[in-house]
Symmetry: C2
């Protein structure tokens, strides 16, 4: 088969051996696979490792032994059943007939993730192997491109679920409208939560956020999303909370969906008192904050990661329900040979989600 | 009267004019006044301001106009009614007879705090003026020394109330057993919450924490409080949360009661997954964290400040109930002339709460 093999941090299309499904596994054809920020970080880490700066969890996951299987990334996939491995029961075969579109949660074991390990090749190849007991059927009529959004949209469901322990109502402020911020916006909109204020430097990304359901979109280069709160009915308490009750004083929920140094502190400075920040973006570098400022405004921060299996399944259900125009997140769809172009283009913040369709070269 | 006047960052006992109660106010004799970390910061800020480094909110609050009233700090006080100002009704006079012990929430207006403003002199003086409508009666039989703990203990009530939105059960880890950490320990113990693991470098502070109800005390120089969790019945989930349910996976609640740079990051590193940090200590300096680490462990942080009026009143009620031996927090009681000694001694971390009794010089 043909695959976009990760070689020294670049995606190089090569012919490699077809994968062979083991016991309880199925062989599938990858129909659509999204590329995400974590993939870019992983490829960067591989490049750094090549240069001897291998001090990265991702790099060590992906390094593998010399002469080992090729590394094929891709964990946001929708695939089509092709064949079944040995030991798959008749009932399972009947349940997963050839041609059936499926998704699968890429987290398959402790620290084991499809598309981040040589032993679990991902969706940037014509064929891949999945565990039959982890398959989710894509409902009739849902195109593979939309089903491939199950994984990134699940991240939004998780972030909103984490925050809704604290705040049932909005306004909600989404900082950054890359795929993560758009997934959060989609999750809020699907649940009927709002109003949503979304902020991004890119006009095209802001447009997608509006299409997904953001009531207000803001260019942070010229405006603060927090200046929009008042027009949406949110007013900061006029008297100090130290003079009043502790109840009913929650500020807005702010989703940090960027993950670069300096952003958390800038939000601590600009968020109203009692705001709750859900940190969905992952900033791997050291970052400086002023904790005393957070005390003075009684702020809180919650750091989330990925999603739970039930949220992954819920994500596919939501796509099928079609309550939110999640297809607007897809800004390009390309063939396998354009995988490296996709990676390069994603560094351009005008793109949101680029899908690779490996069956067409 | 005699007062310990804050002069250039030092407490100097002087004779100053007796304060005169205004309309709706009472004249009280300060019976006991605790000195806290914020007082030390304020005095430091005054010293810095003297040297031209006046870039501090506290310093600007305390600077005042030249020739203005002397600055008298002290916001953790218990006082005794002496006289009533003009316009105080007979009913109010009857309610607050001479000799009655009272406490009062020092937060008296937007940004206005007794003991942090020249217009609101505090408890480090023989006499002071309080608003009649803000008085709380000290219940019969409660000594003034214990009632003077109302303010610092209210900080603990607030911190525990903030955290209990998320975690009804322990274990609870208290980092730092200064007055704040001890107040948190006392609040948890009063509410029957536990088990409590308390950590401090000082053996005498650890002993007080144990007296207040900590099940385990730890010297962080040699042991990690998190190593004690298992013995108290807390086990981190053995499988990754990414493979399981989002429910029922709260880690312990950790109260950060120190407020120095570096501590938050060290806790992010050592806390189990899903821990919730309540940041009670106030670190005014820039601090470096690694946000991505917090994502990978799905940690959360909540920053709290002071207390609400209802919590202040609850604090005095709890002292009267006597369920917890809060008197053990008081490590020294001195006369007014020893105020500067008290400030100097508090920089020695073996002390917890030092009370000044201004009626005895």
């Amino acid at each position: 088969m043909r695959a976009a093999v990760a070689l020294g941090g670049d995606l190089v299309v090569q012919s490699v051996a077809d994968p062979v499904p083991g016991r309880g596994q199925v062989l599938v054809a990858s129909r659509a696979n999204g590329i995400c920020g974590s993939d870019l970080h992983a490829l960067d880490a591989m490049k750094a490792a090549e240069q001897g700066n291998g001090d990265s969890m991702v790099a060590s996951m992906m390094r593998g032994e010399a002469g080992a299987a090729p590394l094929i990334i891709g964990h946001e996939f929708c695939a089509e059943i092709v064949d079944h491995g040995p030991g798959v029961s008749v009932a399972t075969k009947k349940r997963w007939p050839a041609g059936q579109l499926v998704c699968s949660n890429p987290f398959v074991g402790q620290g084991e993730l499809v598309g981040y390990s040589r032993s679990r090749p991902g969706g940037l190849a014509q064929l891949m192997v999945l565990d039959a007991n982890r398959l989710l059927a894509v409902p009739e009529g849902v195109p593979a491109q939309l089903a491939a959004l199950t994984e990134p949209l699940a991240v939004g469901i998780r972030a909103v679920a984490a925050a809704s322990r604290l705040a049932k109502r909005g306004p909600f402020v989404v900082i950054g409208c890359g795929p993560i911020g758009l997934a959060v916006t989609a999750a809020l909109a699907h649940e009927g939560r709002g109003p949503i204020i979304a902020s991004d430097l890119s006009p095209s990304r802001r447009q997608i956020a509006a299409q997904l359901g953001a009531a207000v979109v803001v260019d942070p280069a010229t405006d603060s999303p927090f200046d929009e709160l008042e027009s949406l009915g949110f007013a900061e308490a006029s008297t100090s909370p130290l003079l009043g009750s502790a109840k009913g004083q929650l500020g807005p929920v702010v989703f940090e969906c960027v993950g670069v140094p300096g952003l958390i502190q800038s939000l601590l400075e600009s968020m109203p008192r009692h705001s709750h920040m859900v940190v969905v973006g992952v900033c791997g570098q050291p970052d400086t904050i002023r904790p005393g400022l957070a005390n003075s405004k009684e702020l809180s921060m919650e750091f989330v990661l990925a999603y739970r299996p039930a949220e992954f399944a819920e994500s596919l259900r939501r796509i099928a329900q079609g309550r939110v125009d999640v297809g607007s997140i897809i800004t390009a769809t390309v063939g396998l040979t354009e995988s490296q172009w996709a990676v390069d283009s994603l560094r351009n913040a005008e793109q949101a989600k680029i899908l690779v369709e490996p069956y067409r070269e």
